[in-house]
Homo-oligomer: 213 residues x 2
């Protein structure tokens, strides 16, 4: 069966976003430091319409994390547009007219909304919970795996339910002190982990684990 | 000046001991999983009077963490013997007649007690706080550095005070879900970290950082 593969950047003290997230600071205070390693990569910039960038030890990790992925699940907070019912004109994501996904994306939300087509990416809004979103993503992935992207709340729900098969945690050398915590409230506790690989790269260390079944 | 070098094992979800620590379970429930990588090493076993063990990628990391160390600081909880005033006969540590330190050890406690000599290690009990313990350890280290060992409470106090120069975090592939958290309550937040090295080894990944001054 298609696997659910988490990939997320985390501070050394366990946060995936800083405190006081807002529309103008979607990663929270200091949270952009978690993603500096990615934004420096040519492999990231090319898929986000930007020139330049580096090739380094993170490149193969990023490419590997995309390999075989046929659909993505994210939370409403990561999709953006603020909390509550969708305003008009409805928020269409952070990614412009050609989002970098290029496959079906499922957004977990409490507020129904018709699917949104942007370039080669269709965003489908799922209001009946994480298992329904996973079923829909698996069906849409065309035999590929499903990427789990964030934010912390949605990821922790999947971890607590024991539904995550692979964890790629990119540890940034920063201590945020507060914010959105991965593994909050014991999410994932007791899951047996197999350490697959650790990759040291400029400004980040990538830790790859598989959940034992 | 002699540096203060933290070395500690941490679960992927940020705990350095499990919940419900007691005299019979000094590492808390599940906490022994944090140290399996170390107990498997010949380098660890030889200094703890045990035969056998492995040589692997952790060996050089452990040897490096001991290199140049002239004194150690630990908390009362790591030294052991339960909370509160010292009972009679007073607890003499977990390490038998020849503790593996072989240099002066400073134990932070609220309860005064005369120094304790065990083999080539002298334990000095410090009741006037982390800065006094660091001053004493530096003076006793004979030009060497000072190791900071745990537990979480003492380490977090040093992190919060900005006194830690080097952080060696050995990340075990386990999710404890609860227990004693490193970096709790924002300890160390805002400290600039330089990622020095990441070492993948059997059952653990060692992350080495330096604090920027």
């Amino acid at each position: 069966m298609a696997e659910l593969r988490l990939r997320i950047s985390m501070s050394l003290d366990g946060y995936v976003a800083g405190p006081n997230q807002s529309v103008s600071a979607p990663l929270g205070e200091g949270g952009e430091a978690l993603h500096e390693w990615a934004l420096a990569l040519e492999a990231w910039r090319a898929t986000h319409g930007r020139d330049g960038g580096e090739v380094n030890a993170s490149t193969a990790v990023m490419e590997g994390s995309l390999e075989g992925i046929g659909a993505t699940i994210m939370g409403r907070r990561m999709f953006g547009g603020g909390p509550g019912p969708w305003a008009e004109p409805a928020w269409e994501g952070w990614w412009g007219d050609e989002p970098p996904f290029g496959h079906p994306v499922f957004v977990l939300t409490h507020h129904a909304r018709p699917p949104l087509v942007k370039g080669s990416t269709t965003f489908t809004f799922v209001t009946d919970g994480i298992e329904a979103a996973l079923d829909a993503a698996r069906a849409a992935a065309g035999g590929g795996d499903v990427a789990l992207s964030g934010g912390a709340d949605v990821v922790n729900q999947y971890l607590a339910a024991g539904l995550v098969d692979e964890l790629l945690i990119s540890v940034a050398p920063v201590l945020l002190g507060d914010g959105e915590r991965l593994f909050a409230n014991g999410a994932g506790a007791g899951t047996g982990l197999e350490q697959v690989e650790a990759v040291e790269a400029p400004g980040v260390t990538h830790l790859l684990y598989r959940a034992r079944r």
